[in-house]
C-alpha cells in the first residue's frame, strides 16, 4: 500500500540568538540566523521511520515562509525526505496561526496526502495549535502530541502523554499527527544525504496556486493584533555566595527573609 506523508516544517530564528521584534511587531527574521525548527526534526524523523518500516512511502516536506525558509526544506531533504514544497508569497508577511493553517491545509490538499506529520510546536511562536487547526480544516482525525507513533494498514496509532494521563490513541487515515521531542532523537544528515538533497525537487507555490485571496492572509488580515512588545527588564543582579560550609543555611535564611519558610 502506498502512503503519502506530508511533513510540515517551519524555518525559525535561532533560539540561542538575540530574538526580537521588527517595527511592525512581527518576529524579526532578518537579524538572527534561521534554521529548521528543532521540534520539526522529530516530525521528519518519525516520517522517515514510518517510511523505513513500510514500502512505497513518499515523504514531502512543506513549508510556508520567505526565501530563506528553503534552508529548512534542504535540511529535511538531507535527512531523507523525498521532495519539498515551498509556499512563498509577499502577501504572507505577518500571517497568524489561523491564516498559516489555511495556507498549509490548501497546500496539503493540493499535494495529496494520507498522513500529515507536524512537530509539537514551533520554537518561536510556541502556540502548538497548528496541527489541531489542520485537522479541523482538513476534516480528518487529529492524533496529536504523540511520544510514539506507528502506521499499520490504514490505521495510525500512538501514545499521548497528557497532563493528567497517558492515552493510547487510534484513528483511520487520512489523519493529522503531531509528535513530541520524546518520540525519538532525530538523525543527522549524512554526507551522502546532503549531496542527494541537492538533486531533490523543491516545488514553489504562491497564493494564486492555492486559490487563496490576499485578503485572507497577511498582517492586515490577521485574526489577532499585537499592540505592544516590550523587552523584559533584566533581572536585577542577585546575591551570589560561595558555599564555605554554611551555604544551605544562608539560603534558608534568604528564604525565611522572603517569607517562604
Amino acid at each position: 500500500m502506498s502512503l503519502r506523508i506530508v511533513v510540515t516544517v517551519k524555518y525559525v530564528p535561532d533560539a540561542t540568538g538575540d530574538r526580537h521584534f521588527a517595527d511592525d511587531l512581527t518576529v524579526d527574521r532578518d537579524d538572527v540566523d534561521g534554521l529548521l525548527s528543532e521540534l520539526d526534526e522529530y516530525a521528519v524523523e518519525q516520517a522517515l521511520q514510518i517510511s523505513e518500516a513500510g514500502d512505497d512511502v513518499e515523504i514531502t516536506v512543506l513549508t510556508v515562509g520567505p526565501e530563506d525558509a528553503k534552508d529548512a526544506l534542504r535540511k529535511a531533504l538531507s535527512m531523507g525526505a523525498d521532495k519539498a514544497i515551498h509556499v512563498e508569497d509577499d502577501d504572507l508577511h505577518g500571517t497568524d496561526a489561523i491564516g498559516t493553517s489555511l495556507v498549509l491545509a490548501k497546500a496539503i490538499e493540493k499535494a495529496g496526502y494520507d498522513l500529515v506529520i507536524s512537530g509539537m510546536a514551533s520554537t518561536d511562536g510556541t502556540m502548538g495549535v497548528v496541527p489541531a487547526l489542520l485537522a479541523e480544516r482538513l476534516g480528518v482525525p487529529q492524533v496529536t502530541l504523540l511520544s510514539e507513533v506507528s502506521v499499520e494498514g490504514g490505521t495510525v496509532k500512538g501514545r499521548r502523554d497528557g497532563d493528567s494521563a497517558t492515552e493510547q490513541l487510534e484513528a483511520s487515515l487520512p489523519a493529522v499527527v503531531s509528535v513530541t521531542d520524546q518520540s525519538g532523537e532525530a538523525r543527522y544528515p549524512s554526507f551522502k544525504g546532503i549531496m542527494a538533497a541537492k538533486k531533490k525537487p523543491v516545488q514553489a507555490w504562491d497564493l494564486s496556486d492555492l486559490d487563496i485571496d490576499e485578503d485572507e492572509v497577511g498582517l492586515e488580515n490577521a485574526y489577532t493584533t499585537v499592540d505592544s512588545a516590550t523587552e523584559r527588564p533584566a533581572r536585577t543582579a542577585g546575591t551570589i555566595v560561595k558555599d564555605e560550609g554554611e551555604g544551605g543555611k544562608q539560603l534558608a535564611a534568604f528564604l525565611a527573609e522572603r517569607k517562604f519558610v
Partner: protein, 320 residues
C-alpha cells in the same frame, strides 16, 4: 453585563485550580458562565458558584472520555451559540489549547494562547503574553470574531466571589468528526502527593548536576520540606533520571511559581523558557559561570550534595 464562557478543567467533578483563576480574570470582562463536560460535570457547580460563575452549563456523555478533543469543541461551540459571549477563556493545558484553536476556527475568531494576564480594553480583552523565552512581554487583542484566549496557570489569584451558579443542561449534538480519534486506553498519572507542577507556589528542580535517578531523592526531600512540586531539566529527563511529565522548559512545562529553586541546572535557553517568569529564583550550582546565576535573586556556588541537604534540614528546623 456581557457573559464570558469559561471552560472548566475538572477531574470527576473536582475543579482544578487554573479554572478558578480563569473565573477571577473572567470577572474583569463580564459575567462568567462556566462549561463543565463529562463525568461529574454537575458536581463542579458549587465550587464554580463560590468563585463567581453566574451559570454552569453541563453536559455528560461518554464521548468526552472516549474520543480526543473534538467532542469538547462541539460542546463549547454549542455553548457559544446559546450564550453569545464576549469572550471564551480556556486553561492553557496542551488539550485546552487544541480545543480553543479548533473552536476559534469554527467561530471565525482569532485565538491568543498562553496569556499570563488579561484585562478589559476598548477593543475587547487585552492579553499579556511572555514570549521568546520570556525575553519580551507582548500585549495583544483578538481583532476578528469572539476572542478565544487560553490562560496559563498561576496567572491570577483565586478569589471567592459568590454568585448564583445556576446549573443548566447544555444541549450538544456531536459533529461527524467527534468520533474520529478513539482513546483506546487511558492510564491516569500516578499521584505523587505533591502539588501539580504548573500550579505549585514553589518548584524545586534538579538538572544534570543531580547526576543519577537515585539522587533525585534529595531534590524530593527539599521539595517536601517546602510543600513544593518537583521539576527537572531536559538534561535530567533525557538521561532517564526523572519523568518527562516533570520537565520544565520549552518542550516541557512552563512554570511561574512564587519561588523556583534550581539545583545543578546550568540555565540553558531551553530551560529558561520554562521558568524565567518565576517571581523569586534561587540556584545552587558548582559552576560560578553557569548562566542560571544571571537570573537569580540568591545563588549559592557550591556542591548541591552539601548545600541542598543542609537547606532541607534548616527549613525543617525553622518550620519546627
Amino acid at each position: 453585563m456581557a457573559e464570558v464562557l469559561v471552560y472548566v478543567d475538572h477531574v470527576d467533578g473536582a475543579v482544578r485550580k487554573p479554572t478558578l483563576e480563569l473565573l477571577t480574570l473572567a470577572r474583569r470582562i463580564g459575567d462568567p458562565v462556566a462549561v463543565a463536560l463529562g463525568s461529574g460535570a454537575a458536581d463542579t457547580a458549587a465550587t464554580l458558584a463560590e468563585h463567581g460563575a453566574v451559570k454552569v452549563l453541563t453536559h455528560e456523555a461518554a464521548e468526552y472520555a472516549d474520543y480526543l478533543v473534538v467532542p469538547k469543541v462541539d460542546a463549547l461551540q454549542a455553548a457559544h451559540e446559546a450564550v453569545s459571549p464576549a469572550a471564551v477563556l480556556v486553561p492553557s493545558s496542551t488539550e485546552g489549547k487544541e480545543i480553543a484553536a479548533r473552536l476559534a476556527l469554527r467561530l471565525g475568531s482569532g485565538i491568543i494562547t498562553d496569556a499570563v494576564d488579561l484585562e478589559a480594553g476598548d477593543k475587547g480583552p487585552v492579553a499579556t503574553q511572555s514570549v521568546f523565552a520570556a525575553a519580551f512581554t507582548t500585549k495583544s487583542h483578538v481583532s476578528k470574531g469572539t476572542p478565544v484566549i487560553t490562560v496559563k496557570p498561576n496567572s491570577a489569584a483565586v478569589e471567592p466571589a459568590p454568585a448564583a451558579g445556576v446549573v443548566e443542561a447544555l444541549s450538544v449534538s456531536f459533529s461527524a468528526q467527534a468520533t474520529g480519534t478513539k482513546v483506546t486506553a487511558r492510564t491516569p498519572r500516578e499521584s505523587t502527593g505533591r502539588p501539580e507542577l504548573t500550579e505549585a507556589a514553589i518548584v524545586v528542580s534538579g538538572g544534570r548536576g543531580v547526576n543519577g535517578a537515585e539522587n533525585f531523592a534529595i531534590i524530593e526531600a527539599l521539595a517536601d520540606s517546602l510543600g513544593a512540586a518537583v521539576g527537572a531539566s531536559r538534561a535530567a529527563v533525557d538521561a532517564g533520571w526523572y519523568p518527562h511529565t516533570n520537565q520544565v522548559g520549552q518542550t516541557g512545562k512552563s512554570v511561574s511559581p512564587q519561588l523556583y529553586i534550581a539545583s545543578g541546572i546550568s540555565g540553558a535557553i531551553q530551560h529558561r523558557a520554562g521558568m524565567q517568569t518565576s517571581k523569586t529564583i534561587v540556584a545552587v550550582n558548582k559552576d560560578a559561570e553557569a548562566p542560571i546565576f544571571e537570573l537569580v535573586d540568591y545563588g549559592v556556588v557550591g556542591d548541591l550534595f552539601d548545600v541542598v541537604p543542609q537547606l532541607t534540614e534548616e527549613v525543617k528546623t525553622r518550620k519546627g
